[in-house]
């Protein structure tokens, strides 16, 4: 199987926040923590676009690289998860993430920063699949129930696509061909690499 990927089709997103609500409800995420949120690009400018953003489960995840306690791991399906029993809540991952995905609940005394929380691609965590411990720490494990992430399945306009990367790319490609526009996918190159990534800039181009 190809790896799991998210994509948000900005041509379709209507900023309804259904994905945000579905995520919060499915995982019973506490107040102050938003694993997913909707962002408006060029707000107020004619032609503004909206996109739904969460952890993109990057191919070469920067959060994994900077974590001082090595609490992150990647599943065979390419989902980036973390172990809350190992996390110390230092916040380095928050600075490294290009999508602002890591969230920190501040429920302790004096608003002390708690352990990091982020989108799990509805794949739970290192606890036993479907257990109460897994639900309380990471939320529901929908992948192990044969389901896709709640945000994408709830999306009313099917702007947010999630699942096997090949299928996601096929669906989007078909849409672009049918409508003749909207091939630019925000965050895809940053998260999953692009043809330009890692290559030297063209001669005379600005760095």
């Amino acid at each position: 199987m190809a790896r799991m990927k998210f994509i948000c089709d900005a041509e379709r997103c209507i900023e309804c926040n259904g994905c945000v609500t579905a995520c919060k409800n499915e995982h019973e995420v506490p107040w102050g923590v938003n694993r997913r949120r909707v962002v408006t690009l060029n707000d107020g400018v004619p032609g503004e676009k909206s996109i739904s953003v969460a952890c993109m489960h990057c191919s070469d995840a920067p959060c994994m690289a900077v974590c001082p306690v090595n609490c992150f791991y990647k599943t065979d399906e390419g989902v980036v998860l973390h172990d809350k029993d190992v996390c110390i809540g230092c916040g380095y991952c928050s600075y490294a993430c290009p999508f602002g995905a890591p969230q920190f609940p501040s429920q302790g005394t004096f608003g002390v920063r708690g352990k990091m929380d982020k989108c799990t691609f509805c794949a739970g965590g290192p606890e036993e699949n479907g257990s109460q411990a897994e639900f309380e720490k990471y939320g529901r494990n929908r992948l192990a129930e044969g389901k896709l992430p709640a945000c994408a399945e709830m999306c009313s306009t099917k702007a947010l696509l999630a699942g096997d990367g090949d299928v996601v790319a096929d669906i989007l490609r078909n849409r672009v061909v049918q409508r003749g526009k909207g091939a630019e996918v925000w965050g895809w190159g940053t998260a999953y690499g692009s043809q330009k990534a890692g290559k030297a800039p063209e001669t005379g181009a600005k760095s």
Binding site: N70, N129, A144, E145, K147, L148, I171, N174
Partner: protein, 73 residues
């Protein structure tokens, strides 16, 4: 006897200066999702433990639920 007592006191006082090993723990190993949860809310169409069945089920679910062109045309 007094010397022994002094040594014992010194050893017990210096014991706090010892350094415990601090090994970097690694995350627990995760159970693969195709192993299933045993929950009654599991989607029908695949068997727990069948990896290829789980993958095919998810791909079909993706096409059915997210590809509206294939549903409408």
């Amino acid at each position: 006897m007094k010397q022994l007592a002094m040594i014992a006191v010194a050893v017990s006082l210096l014991a706090a200066c010892g350094e415990k090993p601090q090994t970097l723990g690694s995350p627990k190993s995760d159970i693969p999702p195709y192993a299933g949860t045993g929950s009654a809310f599991t989607a029908a169409g695949w068997k727990a433990g069948d990896k290829s069945g789980w993958e095919q089920h998810l791909k079909a679910r993706q096409q059915n639920s997210q590809n509206d062109y294939s549903r409408m045309n």
